[in-house]
Symmetry: C2
Subunit: 518 residues, 2 copies
Amino acid sequence: MPADDPTPRRSGGRAARKKRRSDPLPRHQRPVHPGMAGGQYRPLTQTQMDRIHEAALTALERIGLSGAPPSGVKIMTGAGAMLGPDDRLRFPRRVVERALALAGRNIRLHGRRSEHDLDLTASKVHFGTAGAAVHLVDADGKIYRETGVQDLHDAARIADKLENIHFFQRPMICRDIADSREMDLNTIHAACTGTTKHVGISFAEAGHVADGLSLLHMVAGSEAEWRARPFASCSICFVVPPMKFATEACQVLEACITGGMPVLLLSAGQSGATAPAPLAGAVVQAVAECLAGLVYVTAMAPGHPAIFGTWPFVSDLRTGAMSGGSGEQALLTAAVAQMHGYYDLPGGAAAGIADAKLPDMQAGWEQMCSNLLAGLSGLNMVYEAAGMHASLLGYCHESLILGNDLIGQALRCLRGIEVNDDTLALDVMAEVCLEGPGHYLGAQQTLRLMQSEYLYPDLADRSTPGEWEEHGRPDLVARASARKREILAAPSGTSAAALDPATERAIRARFNIHLPAQ
Amino acid sequence: MPADDPTPRRSGGRAARKKRRSDPLPRHQRPVHPGMAGGQYRPLTQTQMDRIHEAALTALERIGLSGAPPSGVKIMTGAGAMLGPDDRLRFPRRVVERALALAGRNIRLHGRRSEHDLDLTASKVHFGTAGAAVHLVDADGKIYRETGVQDLHDAARIADKLENIHFFQRPMICRDIADSREMDLNTIHAACTGTTKHVGISFAEAGHVADGLSLLHMVAGSEAEWRARPFASCSICFVVPPMKFATEACQVLEACITGGMPVLLLSAGQSGATAPAPLAGAVVQAVAECLAGLVYVTAMAPGHPAIFGTWPFVSDLRTGAMSGGSGEQALLTAAVAQMHGYYDLPGGAAAGIADAKLPDMQAGWEQMCSNLLAGLSGLNMVYEAAGMHASLLGYCHESLILGNDLIGQALRCLRGIEVNDDTLALDVMAEVCLEGPGHYLGAQQTLRLMQSEYLYPDLADRSTPGEWEEHGRPDLVARASARKREILAAPSGTSAAALDPATERAIRARFNIHLPAQ
């Protein structure tokens, strides 16, 4: 800033202008928001997508899927699938085409508060958490320890406060709950009492779904209220790639559909291990598997909200281990997002995974790479977008918090560049160059666009080296830790996500809730 | 990896297979290389580019540029520009269109070794360093100190060893050399004796160019050899935005053109300060300024190699400070890359800048964001792509080293996804699912693609949490420091970049070389 403030009278002085510049904008005027449209990045051409679609149809016709439960065989053969002597279900292309015609579109995933509803039409992009991490990454101590229900609840509470985390799917396993039914139910409770954003959960067995739905009905107020605005979706690994239904998960799928719960049809192959090594082949297989899932869902309930969950992962082929932080992963995720658009289906995939063990420079570049390409390719639901380390094995609260800045920046890119008479700025340029002060610092246009055109991070450091040294060379992760403590210091029981005391008591009376009463 | 190795006979056992998997590929078979084609990401539509072009032409006609030296006024008015009573040069559109027709295309920037030549046609992408940092970031001690000629030479030596750093433009100032002529000459010497890749330098005054060229002729062997393969380009901030020629730099420009040196026509406005606040307006101004530069160059020497250096930067409008790590920066860089393609001109811009003071998570996401979008938008020369911190004020050797992995990953994304009968993998899928082991680990296709389809980082950690703990929880930056020490431990005088002793002696006899003789 120049010493001679160019507009002292209009701005009411530099301090006042600086204050006005840092006042938060009303939500609709902010530079980024949930549901911004992607599609500026297209790794696949139309012809390539046609070929992938054709190959997926051929795979469903020629190879088909094994492993469907008897109920699923009945449902899918009823829709035209054919059970071979090798017990594989094969899908003539007209069956798949009919499923595509019957698929749920114009899908909205509800938050417990409507301000958090997610509109999954077109290429609208939302970022959130997901996963099944088994380690909590202690960023201070740089150690990995087992995850527990309190960690999950804390993550939900943190995500609730982060503007650019648009939904909260369970990112970690409650390893301190041995009984799998109790774990499923406590996962729902710990997530729902931490955030009013849309929640994603899962069930280990179909037998847990009825209890889970009862719990969700209690949170909603009644079954009718739940069915009107189901604020939780179920993530279902309904296939075990390659090309095999996961028998038990299919039963979960059926129970969720019956219970009015949106489902994520998740195919999580790993290239070179459980999916073909070429990236194109991994996309083909994921698309084929999810199309089979779509036949399943639409045969049961046409229009049921089902997210096309092609989640092809990457192997490091030297070791066979997963590499969620690789460039290949970013490409796979972007490519499947394009396929979702090809079918005009609500879709989700994984991005934002770090292979890095800690929230370090590697984590930053890995998380940005796939989140950015996922967003720019128009992925509706970007799962695992924040906090995820060690290729899904570790979850880090500090990283989740820093992910809010990282994703904000990806969203800013997604918003792109507006080109119109105002933004082309010829008149401002003429005034500044021919009549004005020779710079744009005090121009009305600059002041007007400061908050709506530019995004400012919460924790990312933009100070000069001199300021940075004056402030004691602040450490990024330490600042995130401080923010975590600040968020978690408020009593959980008084948050907007907390249930009313009577409901909380009723839930605790009926189920064994492990989280201490707040 | 499964315990029962699926292909023991074909592979000669797991250990042998693992070894074969980790053998380096010949250069042409590697998954990424310099000059891969971008263009999959297009933030601007064709109509938007047309409007930006029109606005730039209008700005050149209506506003024009002040500040040209008398020689430049003569050259440009000779080409049809008009000097107004306000001493501004204005450019009728036919003058600009003629410059575009006369511009150098099919440009090759030479390395001292031809294997490092850069082909700047179409949307071929190259990543390298640049800048004028004044602080060396000591990543171990987390301190900033003044940069010196040894730091510059070290950076050149490190860049020489990094596969994904394709050129070495001077990234920092030799602050230990007070005399500006000596600084310019020592910069050339320190860079050229550190790397055989293409080098970018600059001159503070036109009076330094003759000596600089003499030095370059000595390095090349003769003036004729220099002119046949000029392995150094001159970065010239020929404008002081908004819309004003930098008088002295214009004289440098003229001297470089006469000396057969490729030039980078650099316009470095800063949105909201020295360029309009709307991103579109910042692009318009940068394009207009560089088009004026193109009139200048083509009027002197049609076809002279000139890189269209639209480098619009971003201000954090709360403070007026630069924010090179922002999403807005990534968008600006990608947009100007599209404009280079619009004109079919060789172009360059800045990306990979971190606002972060250290190579931390923020640095990772900031550097990846703009490098990735720069590459995917097809920017020919991605300047400042590695090592740059504190929004250009700090340079970090460890970060440069880690940037090699980061840029490798961006290049992998740039390569995209090949779709053909082989990669669609239907036959492999059928074999694995219907006849085979139910996984792809031992498939011939997997083994074949392992090194050509997948990129493996040098320093990024992909170990499991267990392995990571066994290895003592290695720190990423510490590993980069170790690599730096390893690279710099070899005597500089014996490297491929070192000059033959007679030349080195002759240079030292003629110029005051500050770098100790090796």
